[in-house]
């Protein structure tokens, strides 16, 4: 396609710099574990349910192991060793968790024959969890074959956020009927900072619905019904972010979610989660997403809600390149990279639409095989719903002109109310009109050689390369500490969830990572 006349040498240099900036973080992730990674391992091995206070058994079990032997060996060996000593079958991990919570089980790190035996059983048990994820992936492939993919690109992505899963379901089904190809269930505010995954169906959330395994299952079943009715596979999105990212990814794989919001730095920047915790959790969750055939959505749009969308456009490109590197390293394929970017330039800026086109096209050309996620205006939505609707129309048009993969439907009532039924209908009408009238415009839209759009795109790429050079020199953790992205300063020795991080001991064992990396 090559519409921007980008210098291929500069593009390769940008990728190489992203690799070099990212590699130390990967090394860090490979040599550390977190409580949430360990809980995800136990979930794969079949631990389910929660105690009467709603604290999941995986939390109780990991906490018990950490109390006695620490986190640095991984929990798999101590847990499966205890299981054997207690004479419980491999399927009874949940019972072991209950006993551990009651204080009637002792944990140790086994050596010699006991270690070999525990390792074998642990691998088999977590392997069974991964096989369950494989079956769900095959099931998705079958359903897509049967019902088909959406007829058009971009896929139309709509949000539901009632707080009550039983209200979300009819809303999601109505949205699918009205044209949504992807339904995202927004999580309750604050869930990202819970260090456990709530259990069961939930009806009480703030500005969103708690992500739980049961809510995942209920919504996926409802959308399967819609897929049958509409003869197109309706995808479901949730969040692999916050302190429980690895577990969310695992549960999403087990319940056949199709997309997950999963950004390498979002938790650090916007939720003040410890950087090391985030990068360790990130890597594991992406490995699971790779295995589960889940498309990740990265969060670059968020930078532009706090930083200026023109001055800081290159930070989006830098983050996309880093997200791409981390994703490939974790085994994700290009078709799984819903790299994010957004229409957030102040509409009062002269030529704002041409600038948007330049930025959107730059992302398109840098990542030709990724289903880019195109995010609507939020920062400059003022409450003037009429102007908002016009802005959303231009956003939709930019999406069509630059061949975006996933289009999050903008609401004219952004910043006013959580979307009403009528807001969603008007927003979808807007999308349908633009895609109907100009859906193929990206074929004809070729910016003038040397013109405004080409120049702008090349400038942003050059700025991105300069920033990557600086990051590579100073290290990524330092750049994050200094507030390079989204102007938030996040030092590596601060932030939430740091207590749940440990450097691997020499005998660290994680059967899930071993199996994920072998595949």
């Amino acid at each position: 396609m090559a519409k921007l006349d980008l210098d291929p040498a500069l593009v390769s240099r940008a990728r190489e710099l992203a690799r070099r900036a990212g590699q130390p973080v990967v090394d860090l992730a490979r040599s550390h574990t977190t409580v949430s990674v360990e809980r995800a391992v136990l979930r794969l091995a079949g631990v389910t349910g929660a105690d009467p206070d709603g604290i999941p058994w995986v939390n109780r079990l990991v906490d018990a192991v950490v109390d006695e032997v620490g986190l640095e060996h991984g929990v798999a060996l101590p847990v499966f060793d205890a299981l054997a000593r207690e004479g419980l079958p491999a399927g009874d991990l949940t019972l072991l968790a209950q006993k551990a919570a009651a204080g009637s089980v002792r944990f140790g790190v086994p050596t010699g024959k006991a270690a070999t035996a525990a390792r074998k059983v642990a691998s088999k048990a977590t392997g069974a969890g991964l096989k369950a994820i494989d079956r769900r992936r095959a099931e998705r492939d079958r359903l897509i074959k049967r019902f088909g993919d959406p007829k058009q690109r971009p896929w139309i992505y709509l949000i539901v956020a009632t707080g009550d899963i039983y209200e979300d379901i009819p809303q999601a089904q109505a949205a699918a009927r009205a044209g949504a190809d992807v339904i995202a269930v927004i999580r309750s505010t604050g869930q990202s900072l819970l260090d456990y995954v709530p259990e069961g169906p939930t009806r009480e959330g703030f500005a969103g619905t708690y992500a739980t395994q049961e809510n995942f299952r209920l919504m996926r079943a409802a959308l399967d019904e819609s897929s049958r009715e509409l003869k197109r596979y309706v995808r479901l999105t949730n969040y692999a972010s916050g302190l429980c990212m690895p577990e969310m990814a695992t549960l999403a794989g087990l319940e056949r979610l199709d997309m997950m919001l999963n950004d390498s730095m979002y938790g650090i920047l916007f939720r003040d989660i410890n950087p090391i915790r985030t990068f360790v959790d990130q890597r594991f969750s992406r490995q699971v997403h790779a295995r589960a055939g889940i498309i990740i959505n990265t969060g670059e749009d968020n930078y532009l809600t706090t930083a200026d969308a023109v001055d800081e456009a290159h930070t989006v490109t830098v983050s996309q390149l880093l997200n791409e590197f981390f994703a490939h390293e974790a085994g994700l394929a290009n078709w799984q990279l819903g790299l994010g970017h957004a229409f957030e330039i102040n509409p009062e800026v002269p030529e704002s639409f041409r600038l948007e086109l330049a930025h959107a096209l730059l992302a398109r050309e840098l990542f030709p095989d990724a289903p880019l996620k195109w995010m609507p205006p939020t920062k400059h939505m003022t409450g003037d719903v009429f102007r908002g609707n016009l802005l959303d129309g231009f956003f939709n048009l930019a999406g069509a002109m630059t061949g975006q993969g996933i289009l999050l439907v903008g609401m004219m009532t952004e910043a006013v109310v959580t979307p009403w039924l009528s807001d969603r209908d008007i927003a979808l009408q807007n999308v349908r009109y633009v895609l109907g009238a100009a859906g193929g415009l990206h074929e004809d839209f070729v910016p003038a050689p040397g013109g405004f759009i080409q120049q702008r795109a090349n400038l942003v790429l050059a700025e991105a390369v300069r920033l990557l050079e600086k990051i590579e020199g100073d290290t990524l953790l330092q750049a994050i500490a200094e507030g390079t992205f989204g102007i938030m300063k996040r030092p590596a020795d601060r932030g939430k969830g740091l207590a749940g991080v440990a450097k691997h001991a020499d005998d660290y064992f994680n059967p899930a990572t071993e199996l994920l990396e072998a595949s």
Binding site: G163, A174, R177, A178, S188, T189, G190, S192, L193, F206, A207, F270, R271, D272, T305, T306, A307, D308, K379, G383, A415, T418, W420, L421, S422, D425, I426, I487
Partner: protein, 243 residues
């Protein structure tokens, strides 16, 4: 000039307004009649149904234009007018330096489960909003931004640690009146933790607050949508610095 006005469509005194809403019924003649009935009860007479469209199974969206007979008396409107002079960053700095002889300490946070730091960041971050720099930019202000999802005890502790002259809290999420509950909880905690003369100035802001509710919520000031860092800084100086 009279204080009495009516809505203006295209002629003085025509009283024309527009209204859109959804009724949970399928679209048919009856539904249109129902929409007109609602408009009538709301005081629109005559009401013109200009658009009706069914959405999904049992909902219809309506747009109604019509005339209302209500009069508005602008002399009886009650609002919280800005009761302090608007200062430039330079003036703020000079007044703090002269009047306080130390930096004015400001602690900001989003409390409760609210993770939307957009508001507090717009006021505090150097970046600011709409071309106006945030409080971090003011040389004589010492800003501690605790970020999102800060618990009330954490906020009180930080305010004590930083010897805060003012505490700024932003609340965006309004579901189930979370912003009001959180604000009351916060002001109660400060009342409990500190005697009145040691208590920092409590300021809350957010797009859905009613600016006249400060007393009821136990805070010193509420700022609504569209507030700029300069207004907040000017207010802080007005309240905290002796001229």
């Amino acid at each position: 000039m009279s204080d009495i006005v009516r809505p203006y469509g295209d002629t003085t005194g025509d009283g024309m307004v527009q209204l859109s809403f959804t009724l949970p019924i399928a679209h048919d003649k009856r539904a249109e009649g129902a929409a007109l009935q609602l408009a009538g009860k709301m005081g629109m007479d005559p009401a013109m149904l200009v658009h009706a469209k069914q959405m999904g199974d049992g909902f219809t969206f309506f747009v109604v234009y019509g005339r209302v007979n209500h009069l508005v008396d602008t002399s009886k409107v009650e609002v919280v007018e800005r009761d302090f002079p608007l200062l430039s960053a330079k003036e703020v700095n000079a007044l703090v330096k002269r009047g306080l002889r130390r930096k004015l300490s400001v602690v900001g946070a989003c409390i409760g489960t609210d993770a939307h730091t957009v508001g507090i960041d717009a006021i505090l971050n150097v970046k600011g909003i709409a071309g106006e720099k945030g409080l971090e930019y003011y040389r004589e202000l010492k800003v501690t931004n605790l970020g999102a999802q800060v618990t009330v005890p954490e906020l009180v502790a930080a305010a004590q640690r930083e010897r805060a002259d003012a505490v700024l809290v932003s609340q965006v999420v309004t579901q189930r009146d979370a912003h009001l509950h959180n604000t009351r909880e916060m002001s109660a905690a400060f009342r409990e933790a500190l005697p009145a003369d040691k208590r920092p100035l409590l300021v809350v802001g957010g797009p859905r607050f009613d600016e006249s509710m400060a007393g009821e919520l136990g805070v010193d000031r509420i700022f609504g949508r569209g507030t700029t860092p300069g207004e907040v800084a000017s207010y802080l100086v007005h309240e905290l610095v002796q001229p």
